[in-house]
């Protein structure tokens, strides 16, 4: 349901066009339907009953990264992204989901994710991976550029409560699917750093996918169980904070849950309470005097701002500050660090041409810095950037992985 307040938003678009050139998708396609202003116009017509939600509209609605650049650039403060997200939910019934998404979301919201992972995790370490066509790609990312799945899920590698002597604090850790199944190095780094600082880390059992890929595709009902389960597990008063290492999960937990529940007419109290306690791991670490623990490491690092961290959560300085604290590591800012990498979850697979153009600019900016490391706290950006770096000898890592390296 689109709330009356959200409906009124369309009348606040004065059509100044300041959202056009900052929009990475418009910059590639250069026609108005791809722009935020164009989409707001179409949504307005639909809400006024002057236009049907057609196939073309549906197509344009999904020709969007949901990077939120338009929202932060809109002088009149239009919540463009919320409008689009709500509209995606609105047209779901009419257009359904493509089968690939249906399958993926089924996995993310059901209880078959772990068995699925256990099967394919093994298969992918073995000759199956080699059987894949060398030049094959998922969207813009070559098969060969996908990391192998974790041999064991991160959550199975640790006890539920990771105890430390005389704990100085206690946090809940939301691992997210990517860290749990794909980037165990991030999870290990987070746990290493926290325990070194004397923090007790609890990884609640039974946590589910944050659900963001599911509800941003419009399938809110499908994601409801995930949201409710996570709210139930993570709303605890006996911890200092709920930590997230993934920008996307953080955006979901911090603000999207409350928005969606509100728009679905559900109670938002728990979501709002949780939102206030969720921190990106870089925000939490900012409170500590890490300097005295860190040993020099070598390398030249640049930082990419994930949309879900910078624009959704307003986190900009903390990850950079972490990197700058590491002795020996050279930090260099890339041009357009705050521009979306072009991944956008399933966007890069649905619109590989647009995505290639956007990511191409990002890769160029990275090359121009001469860095051999890109740090970014989002597994989606990590896949997208690394997947498009070609033969460049550049690694993409989570900032905390570099901190962990300097701690050891």
């Amino acid at each position: 349901m689109i709330t009356p307040e959200l409906k009124e938003e369309v009348y606040n678009c004065i059509k100044c066009g300041l959202c056009l050139t900052p929009c990475p998708v418009y910059k590639q396609l250069l026609f108005e339907g791809a722009s935020p202003r164009g989409k707001v116009q179409l949504i307005k017509k639909i809400l006024e009953g002057k236009l049907e939600a057609t196939e073309r509209f549906h197509q344009l609605l999904f020709t969007c990264l949901l990077c939120e650049t338009c929202t932060v650039n809109c002088p009149s403060g239009l919540k463009v992204d919320r409008l689009m997200k709500a509209m995606r939910a609105e047209v779901l019934e009419k257009f359904g989901l493509p089968w690939q998404k249906k399958m993926l979301f089924h996995l993310l919201t059901g209880d078959r994710l772990l068995p699925f992972f256990l099967f394919w995790g093994r298969a992918f370490q073995t000759p199956v991976r080699k059987l894949l066509p060398k030049k094959g790609k998922v969207g813009t990312i070559p098969y060969a550029k996908f990391p192998p799945l974790n041999k064991k899920s991160l959550r199975d590698q640790y006890p539920e409560v990771i105890r430390v002597d005389k704990p100085k604090g206690r946090v809940l850790y939301f691992t997210g699917c990517a860290t749990n199944y794909l980037f165990e190095s991030t999870g290990r780094a987070v746990i290493d750093v926290l325990t070194r600082l004397g923090i007790e880390v609890i990884i609640p059992k039974g946590q589910m996918c944050c659900g963001l890929p599911v509800f941003l595709a419009g399938a809110r009902q499908m994601a409801l169980k995930n949201i409710q389960k996570n709210l139930e597990l993570f709303n605890r008063d006996d911890v200092d904070a709920i930590l997230v290492d993934c920008a996307t999960c953080g955006a979901a937990l911090k603000k999207e849950y409350a928005h969606i529940l509100e728009e679905m007419g559900e109670n938002t109290e728990a979501a709002e309470k949780l939102g206030k306690k969720v921190l990106d791991v870089s925000q939490y670490l900012a409170k500590f005097d890490l300097g005295k623990h860190l040993k020099p490491i070598t390398g030249r690092v640049t930082y990419h701002d994930p949309c879900h961290l910078l624009r959704s959560q307003g986190v900009k300085e903390e990850p950079r500050a972490l990197l700058k604290k590491i002795p020996g590591l050279q930090f260099v800012e890339m041009a357009g660090a705050d521009v979306c990498c072009g991944g956008g979850g399933t966007f890069q697979w649905e619109h590989p041409d647009v995505s290639t153009g956007i990511t191409g600019n990002k890769v160029k900016a990275i090359k121009d810095t001469g860095a051999d490391l890109v740090a970014s706290g989002c597994p989606g950006c990590r896949l997208q950037i690394f997947g498009n770096l070609g033969e460049e000898p550049v690694q993409v890592v989570h900032p905390v992985e570099l901190v962990a390296k300097a701690l050891n």
Binding site: N12, G17, L18, T21, F31, K45, R56
Partner: protein
Amino acid sequence: MVKPEILEKFTSILGPERVKTTKEDLLTYSYDAFIAEYAPEAVIFPKTTPEVAEIMKIASANRVFVTPRGSGSGLSAAALAKEGGVMMCFTMMNRILEINTANRYAVVEPGVIISEFQKELDKFNLFYPPDPGSATVATMGGAVMMNAGGMRGVKYGVTRDYLLGLEIVLPSGAVMNTGGVNAKDVTGYDLTRLLCGSEGTLALATKIIVRLLPKPKTKRTLQAIYNRIDDAGNTVAKIIEAGIIPATLELMDNQIVKALEDFMHLGFPLDAEAVLLIDVDGEPETVEKQAVLIAEFCKSQGARDVRVSQSEKENEQIWVARRSAFGAVARLRPNCLVEDATVPVSKLTEAIKKVIEVSKRNRVQIAVVAHAGDGNLHPLVLFDQRDKEELKRVDKAIDEIVDYALSVGGTLSGEHGIGIAKSKYLTRQLSPTALEMMRAVKKTFDPQGILNPGSFLESAA
């Protein structure tokens, strides 16, 4: 109606991706930043001059209406397909073809975004001054066709003052050049300047040659804060009279300041009745001296405080804010008409007073910004389009502002153009003879009347 076989021909020239005809695509080309909507029957995106020429040959042979458009940031509906037909959108024809440092000119295609062109020039230490508020959106082609002005007008002039030459496609499909790369050129009529500001009614610009300046070495931005808007207005007139030429001299009233502060949180003074934003640029020593001089000057005219920016980043943020003024007022009311009447600068304070009086009497909310140094007022008339009774009052208020401006020797529009926004007032400023001449010019270029039909000349009362 544009016949399907015509669209097929266009498609065979441009390919299906560059001919859009779905209802959704047409609706997204039905507006600019004015309040009227007219959907075209097709939108086409040429990338080369031969493509434009080919299309115009077909259009003229079949009397198909063609309306050119850039980014659609115009404020007068000049680039809307008011009589239907095809919209020719130049956003995909967007290459910078040449930056000539030896002779300080550049050649660009019409779809190049002004601020992106300026950014590119930065690398060569060169400078293209015209700086409309919408520079980050607007195209060079749009700027030429509307003779866009902007914030640096007071020192550097407007688009016209930098335009050296054009490659154009006539409605017949013939390709022609006007002007050239030379700094001086008096060979024949100055068709370049005739085309500049012609609102896309005479020909389509496919290449644009502009002259460039060396980039000023340094810049300072001053904010002069006033308790009384009259004092701010008087300061402007006095600065100009005193022969001081700042690079920009902008005035914002309290309503604008509040809306911008709400958006950007830059610490603008919320209790001030008006703020002047003043840029000085040039050699460092001169700039330092001028900044002090202007600051003292403002204080002597009643400014309660003058703040000088401390860094390039701060300069930039202030100007991002100023550029957002039009968009930001949507925080106050859903719709905004930007009045654009311009008066001799000595009348500025009086004109502002008049606007405030008109606003109160007609019970219409009007926020005032102005490219003050040019006497170019931008009263932002705020309303809700859905309220028909309010619309009538808005109409009346604008009518009175126009009459006032003309009565003191001003002009209908300083820089936004006539389009359909102001065509009904055209006869108040232009004599029948002048209009007749203009119509004859139009006929010479476009005898069939297929280019941007329904524009200012036809819709003039």
